[in-house]
């Protein structure tokens, strides 16, 4: 093999990658916030005993869980404007695709968490006069979310990596910028390796931090 690695051009183009990384972080923050909070709403809908809430929530989950995110992004960018006349820029298309998919997946995580709470906790809330909403908010969700935190963390990591899909509509993020560097400098090996390294360098410490957080939250379970 004997390939001569040469990262000099990567380092020279660091400002280009930096712009991309900022783009990655922006789209991550937006999609993870929308995805995980929207997922909570959909998840509660899935759990509801009222058809009015359960049925739309279930349809939503099935549609967005069973279609590829990449296709959704492309669809929102190319098909949606043609159908509705509403212009969609690359950022919005990517945000829609990734957020909706994340909502669908995290909804199922939240629902599983809520379902894992013993019925007796509902009764305890009820017995002191709490409404369904109060019991959900004060008693069920805090424990349910704590239980599914590892699964949610996993989702978050997934979302961060999914942000690279936004490059398909030329949203300025890390992979998109690396492609640019590779095309100009004919160094795809170094460029794409750099992307992998950047993602690892960002994610690894974050994941370690979430482990610490989980341990801290487990305090009340001793």
């Amino acid at each position: 093999m004997g390939y001569d690695w040469d990262f000099a051009t990567i380092l020279q183009n660091w400002p280009v990658l930096w712009v991309g990384l900022k783009g990655t972080i922006v789209i991550f923050l937006v999609t993870v916030t929308l995805g995980l909070s929207g997922g909570l709403v959909v998840g509660m809908g899935r759990y509801s005993h009222l058809k009015l809430f359960r049925w739309p929530a279930s349809t939503f989950v099935e549609v967005f869980r069973n279609t590829p995110v990449l296709v959704q992004i492309i669809w929102f960018y190319f098909a949606f404007p043609l159908l509705t006349g509403i212009e969609v820029d690359p950022f919005l298309a990517a945000v829609l695709g990734i957020s909706l998919n994340t909502m669908a997946f995290s909804a199922e995580i939240y629902r599983a968490g809520i379902q894992s709470i013993e019925r007796s906790q509902w009764e305890a809330g009820k017995a002191i006069g709490m409404t369904y909403a109060q019991t959900m908010r004060r008693i069920i969700l805090p424990v349910a979310i704590k239980r599914v935190l590892p699964a949610l963390t996993n989702r978050g990591i997934e979302v961060f990596k999914m942000s690279t899909l936004a490059s398909v509509v030329a949203y300025v993020e890390t992979l998109n910028q690396a492609k640019l560097i590779a095309d100009l400098n004919f160094n795809p090996i170094e460029s794409y390796t750099a992307v992998a390294l950047i993602f690892f360098a960002v994610l690894y410490p974050v994941v370690q931090a979430t482990y610490v957080l989980e341990r801290m939250l487990r305090k009340s379970d001793m």
Binding site: S120, A124, A127, I128, G129, K146, S220
Partner: protein, 257 residues
């Protein structure tokens, strides 16, 4: 004494199974009524109908002379909000404590006061500390439930219910899940409560508690009250064969005097 709770012709059906077959019961303010009966007799269901953890299939319940629910052509209808309000006036303690695991002891007792009654934090905390002191657990205020013994958990559950200032307290086999040596501390807290004049409806297998603390004992069998009266009379010389069999079963291996 005045009537605080009245139950009229209460029926409860789960599918094809009729658990309660017409219960009539009147409870006076300050009374401690113990419900006895073997498992499946309907005693827990009766208790759970009083605060509408179960919705009665038929019949009426009155608190302070006011009927709960609205009478319609198709029977009595209940609105959820009305029931939530009602439950703040009727405290309940469960067999398995059901404390909130993510809250400290103090937070457990404060929760309903703040979220449901809208009391201020200061007010709720004062009240909670007083109630915890009353059950002898003020020192555990900042512990999480997982760190407490069963008996301590149950006393916290009692404090949590009392902090809402209920008119009536329901106890659903509250010592059945406890180690034998922890039963006493819970019964003592309940006895103290009864002596302070709380109106109590107690489902239990502790015949000693019924004998010494209750003003009245009811014996349920197959969804009906088959025997009731003063504890001395009901527990010592019951009229019905079912009650005698029940008592015999309980004292099969009694220590000799």
């Amino acid at each position: 004494m005045s009537e605080i709770l009245k139950i009229e012709n209460l029926h409860k059906q789960f599918g094809d199974l009729e658990v309660l077959k017409g219960i009539d019961l009147s409870i006076q303010t300050g009374e401690t009524v113990v419900l006895l009966g073997s498992s499946g007799s309907g005693k827990s269901t009766l208790l759970r109908c009083v605060n509408f953890m179960e919705t009665p299939s038929e019949g009426r319940i009155y608190l302070h002379g006011e009927m709960i629910g609205q009478q319609t052509a198709g029977g009595v209808r209940y609105r959820e909000l009305e029931l939530c309000k009602l439950r703040t006036r009727i405290g309940m303690v469960f067999q398995h404590f059901n404390l909130f695991p993510h809250m400290t002891v103090l937070q457990n007792v404060m929760e309903g006061q703040i979220t449901v009654l809208g009391r201020t934090r200061v007010e709720a905390e004062d009240k909670s500390r007083a109630q915890l002191d009353r059950v002898g657990l003020l020192v555990k205020a900042d512990e999480y439930p997982a760190r407490l013994s069963g008996g301590q958990k149950q006393r916290v559950a009692i404090a949590r219910a009392l902090a809402m200032d209920p008119d009536v307290m329901l106890f659903d086999e509250v010592t059945s899940a406890l180690d034998p040596e922890l039963v006493g501390e819970v019964l003592k807290a309940m006895r103290q409560l009864a002596e302070e004049g709380m109106t109590m409806l107690v489902v239990t297998h502790e015949l000693g508690f019924a004998y010494h603390v209750a003003n009245r004992v009811l014996f349920l069998d197959q969804g009906r009250i088959v025997e009731q009266g003063e504890p001395r009379q009901v527990l010592k010389s019951p009229d019905s064969t079912r009650m005698r069999e029940f008592l015999d079963g309980h004292s099969l291996f009694k220590l000799p005097d």
